[in-house]
């Protein structure tokens, strides 16, 4: 990059970003989209397969009703219209992890269209419009062995696991999101977070980005104010909420530098790198692949019964937005406090911590304080920081019962984050406990007095401030496990 590189602020000062998000969600149905194979994650390679999901000659797909129902529910939760009649389509392209060398998807007749999802960013409600929600089948997974890049080119062997092939996948595509300016990265993140929460509330997927059950592609383009939209790039491999925000930010900065340097943006797929936060060029889309879509002749059209759709709509659960408003009231929080919880992605974590027996205030303190700090330091989402709501609640109850001081609690939390186990177990393993046995303390105090006769004299003479030295010595002997207040009382008592 040149020395006159534009910063994010420079970029936003000069260009208007347009973003768009395509999110893939693996549905948590018992069986695959077009056959009866199970969908359990992490099974041995090629153990959850049959003639259908392997695309063997002669096999035929039959659509999974549970998956169609889940997709319609997602559509309804996103305020979409549900098609009265639509078809699956074949997307034709060759790739070894595509058993049939076409993917059964939907093309110009998606199941759900024209919805929206409201998200709140910095107290402002932004409406993200949804273009479509459609249903398709996932592909298998290819592992390219040998070669320098781990990609198909140059590999000496390619191993394919078809367990994932045919798992129902819902694709949710936004309309271009315009006019968000410097908020664009946060809007992108807030949208994906809100979408994740909606889908989790519906109970149709575990929406775990780190396991790939929710995957996000981020489209970004820049244009000068008043001019037409610029060429967009599609950033793939964006596997966490934090990365969604970073990917948009990175692309805005990168594109602004290309444009301001007189270059032009190539329409292409870019790969996001979690470690560096950079994106690199992938497959160019300027020679667009022709997928030769056509209606899937092996499947009859879908015609969801209007009464059934109405039933599904009536049975939707309380959606996160409404739910959160209720929580805010229950917890007695200001808009600002609630917003900071939202921004940190801590709503559910706090909710679960409270459910595990902690009050709202302390639950909020842990997640927004120590744990948020830790998550920021290590660059992970709060939910992935390494502590569970149950562990946090346990920690707090140990403090409440006097078994831990605040300071010791932080040491135990370190242990939790290190994966050493639950708080009580860590206390036992590390030998952490509040030293409250006065016998042991008295011995430590006597030792400290004997070692510091002049200081003891000063205190006897009424200089209470000098007690700090003795307290320090006692804390050192007890490895910090004594309650400083108690030690002070005992020292003064002894020397009075």
């Amino acid at each position: 990059m040149s020395i006159t590189a534009l910063s994010f602020d420079d970029a936003i000062g000069r260009y208007e970003p347009v973003i768009g998000l395509e999110t893939h969600v693996e549905l948590g149905t018992q069986t695959k989209m077009f056959c009866g194979c199970p969908t359990v994650f992490g099974a041995d390679p090629n153990t959850q397969i049959c003639p259908v999901c392997l695309g063997l000659p002669g096999s035929l797909p039959v659509a999974n009703k549970a998956a169609i129902e889940a997709t319609i529910r997602i559509g309804l939760a996103l305020n979409c219209s549900i098609a009265q009649w639509c078809r699956f389509a074949r997307k034709n392209y060759f790739y070894p992890d595509m058993p049939k060398n076409y993917q059964i998807s939907q093309y110009d007749e998606p199941l759900c269209v024209d919805g929206y999802l409201d998200v709140t960013v910095n107290g402002e409600i932004v409406r993200v419009e949804i273009e479509r929600v459609h249903l398709e089948e996932d592909t298998g997974k290819t592992l390219h062995v040998g070669g320098a890049t781990g990609r198909i080119h140059g590999a000496t062997e390619s191993l394919v696991d078809y367990n994932r092939a045919g798992i129902p996948l819902v694709e949710i595509v936004t309309k271009p999101v315009v006019g968000t300016g410097r908020m664009a990265p946060e809007v992108a993140k807030a949208y994906v977070a809100e979408l994740r929460d909606v889908i989790r509330t519906l109970g149709v997927s575990d929406v775990r980005m780190e396991q790939g059950s929710m995957r996000c592609d981020v489209n970004t383009s820049l244009n000068l104010p008043g001019e037409e939209w610029g060429t967009r790039t599609e950033t793939k491999n964006v596997n966490s909420l934090r990365s969604v925000e970073r990917a948009v930010r990175t692309e805005i900065v990168r594109q602004s530098n290309v444009l301001s340097g007189g270059g032009h943006i190539t329409q292409e797929t870019r790969h996001f790198h979690e470690d560096t936060g950079e994106t690199t060029s992938g497959r160019s889309k300027e020679t667009a692949t022709d997928y030769r879509y056509f209606p899937e002749p092996d499947l009859v059209p879908l015609a969801p019964d209007a009464a059934w759709v109405q039933e599904l709509k009536a049975a939707l659960p309380e959606l996160p937005r409404v739910h959160r408003a209720r929580l805010q009231k229950d917890w007695g929080l200001s808009d600002l406090d609630m917003q900071s919880i939202l921004n940190a992605g801590a709503v559910e974590l706090i909710e679960q911590t409270i459910a595990a027996g902690t009050n709202a205030e302390t639950a909020r303190k842990w997640w927004l304080g120590e744990l948020s700090r830790k998550a920021n330091e290590t660059g992970v989402d709060l939910a992935a920081v390494g502590a569970t709501p149950k562990q946090v609640a346990e920690l707090q109850s140990l403090v409440d019962s006097g078994k831990l001081t605040d300071k010791l609690a932080r040491q135990v939390l370190e242990g939790v984050l290190n994966g050493e186990g639950d708080p009580a177990a860590i206390m036992a393993a590390r030998g952490i406990e509040v030293v409250s046995d006065t016998g042991a303390l008295t011995a430590a105090i006597d030792e400290a007095i004997a070692a510091n006769p002049e200081v003891a004299e000063k205190i006897r003479g009424g200089n209470q401030a000098a007690a700090g030295v003795l307290i320090g010595a006692v804390m050192k002997t007890t490895k910090g496990q004594a309650d400083a207040k108690t030690v002070r009382e005992l020292v003064l008592q002894r020397l009075s």
Binding site: P51, L54, G55, L56, P57, G58, S59, L60, P61, V62, A63, R90, N92, F94, P96, P99, K100, N101, Y102, I152, H153, A155, T156, E157, S158, V160, D290, R292, Y293, F294, P297, D298, L299, V300
Partner: protein
């Protein structure tokens, strides 16, 4: 014994006059004797056949009551997946592939006690009208071994005409059951699309492919139809309705009474480009049907003339996608995998080596027709024509009960006489294709000879009115009789 009908053999086996093993052995012997000249089979499963026959006999020993076709031998087109038995679809790309599962119709035939003697030859992936596009060499017409037995299911039809089996399974995408039936003097029915399951039928053109029964008599065809037809939850396009009683309909037709039946002659298929002998045999038969009480009227179906071009866009388009899975990755042939070449190269080399020219021609045409920018002009337009043809049928069936025509414009042609010009080959299916585009049932039944070669009479009926077509076909058989080929 080999010249008996399936119904008669089934009755004799059930009556213990003959064992299923004896029947199977007699047909296996016949295959050994003549198939070197006919080449109806790509794979003869003597061991499997005798095992299945023994099971039938064992059940009869125990006094079990079995269906009317239990113990009857059957030849199955090699496009139907048969568990553990080689299934090639007539292509090198599937040489040696043994499916790990049975097609639904195969399971039903096994349950009914049918004894599969082997897999029959066909044009590669069912693309052709002569079996000359089989990767394993053509089959020969038992009426004249220098002539084609029709296609794509020429092997199944030849097996029937050569008395190698009394029953056979075919698949019909544009005429692949009916045209071979016509040129070999046998009967072949294409059921209503969705009336027989496609699960386990290696797809050529998914929206057209229909498995169906073949035999030497209409009644045998109806009996086999009953075994294989009916709703299958494994095929989304399978129709969840009861199977029409085609056996009863065939019996009714065989009485020779067609009083009250209205038959429509398709004006557009009145003989232009057809062999005079074919038209003569056809007209004589129509004349005979009027004597049975049928009312015959002429019907215009103006869009039938566009059926052939529409078909040759739709079928190749679907096939270009259906055949994409043959890439050497998971099954079948793999070429060029020397550890150095890229996966893409291996896929490409496999397809180059594994597919024959006609298959490649259709993949290329279909890929083009589906391409962005051409889709509307080709595939989209062809689908519109398809709708118009379906409307022609619907309008016709408001006036008549069935439509009739010759099955194919010409009798069995000489081997090699049409392979150099694809269009001349495609014309063989001129009269059969409209039905596939519409989805209704149609049957070919022998109606005499033209210059010593069999002529087929086609009866077309509305969707799910397969019984109506069997009734008229049986009536045709009652006036035209069955045909006996010269001894091999």
């Amino acid at each position: 014994m080999i010249k008996e009908t399936a119904a008669a053999l089934g009755a004799k086996i059930a009556a213990r006059e003959v064992s299923a093993v004896e029947v199977a052995q007699a047909h296996l012997d016949r295959i050994s004797e003549v198939d070197g000249r006919v080449h109806a089979f790509l794979h003869v499963d003597a061991e499997g056949a005798l095992k299945a026959a023994r099971e039938v006999d064992a059940k009869l020993d125990k006094g079990e009551k079995l269906g009317p076709l239990a113990g009857v031998p059957i030849a199955v087109k090699d496009v139907i997946a048969t568990k553990g038995v080689p299934t090639t679809a007539g292509s090198k790309i599937l040489e040696g592939w043994k499916p790990p599962y049975d097609a639904t119709i195969m399971s039903r035939m096994r349950e009914a006690g049918l004894v599969m003697v082997g897999k029959t030859n066909m044009d590669e992936f069912a693309m052709g009208s002569s079996t000359e596009y089989s990767a394993y060499g053509p089959s020969f017409n038992p009426w004249d071994l220098t002539r084609i037995p029709g296609g794509s299911g020429g092997g199944s039809a030849a097996a029937l005409a050569a008395y190698e089996a009394p029953l056979a399974i075919g698949t019909d995408t544009g005429g692949s059951i009916r045209q071979p039936g016509a040129v070999t003097g046998t009967v072949g029915a294409k059921p209503t699309y969705g009336g027989t399951s496609r699960y386990g039928l290696i797809a050529f053109s998914s929206s057209l492919d229909t498995p169906g029964p073949c035999a030497r008599t209409v009644k045998d065809t109806a009996l086999l139809h009953t075994v294989i037809a009916g709703h299958d939850p494994m095929d989304s396009t399978s129709i969840p309705q009861p199977v029409p009683d085609v056996v009863a309909a065939a019996r009714l037709g065989a009485t020779g009474d067609l009083t009250g039946v209205k038959i429509g002659l398709v004006r557009e298929f009145s003989g232009e480009g057809a062999e005079p002998g074919v038209m003569a045999a056809f007209r004589d038969t129509v004349e005979a049907l009027t004597k049975l009480g049928a009312e015959v009227v002429e019907i215009s179906a103006p869009h039938f003339l566009y059926a052939l071009p529409a078909y040759y866009l739709i079928a190749p388009s679907e096939c270009s996608s259906n055949l994409a899975r043959f890439d050497g990755v998971r099954f079948g042939l793999r070429v060029g995998d020397d550890g150095k070449r890229s996966l893409e190269d291996v896929m490409s080399m496999t397809r180059e080596a594994g597919f024959g020219n006609e298959v490649k021609r259709r993949i290329i045409v279909g890929t083009y027709a589906l391409s962005s920018g051409y889709y509307d002009a080709y595939y989209g337009q062809a689908q519109k024509v398809r709708t118009l043809i379906a409307r022609d049928f619907a309008a016709a069936f408001e006036q008549v009960d069935v439509l009739v025509s010759p099955t194919t414009p010409f009798t069995a042609f000489l081997l090699g006489s049409r392979t150099s010009d694809p269009y001349q080959m495609y014309l063989a299916d001129l009269y059969t294709i409209p039905t596939n585009l519409y989805g209704g049932p149609a049957i070919s039944v022998p109606c005499g000879l033209s210059e010593g070669l069999p002529v087929g009479f086609q009866v077309m009926a509305p969707t799910m009115a397969d019984d109506r077509m069997y009734r008229v076909a049986a009536a045709v058989e009652s006036v035209a009789g069955t045909l006996t080929p010269p001894a091999l």
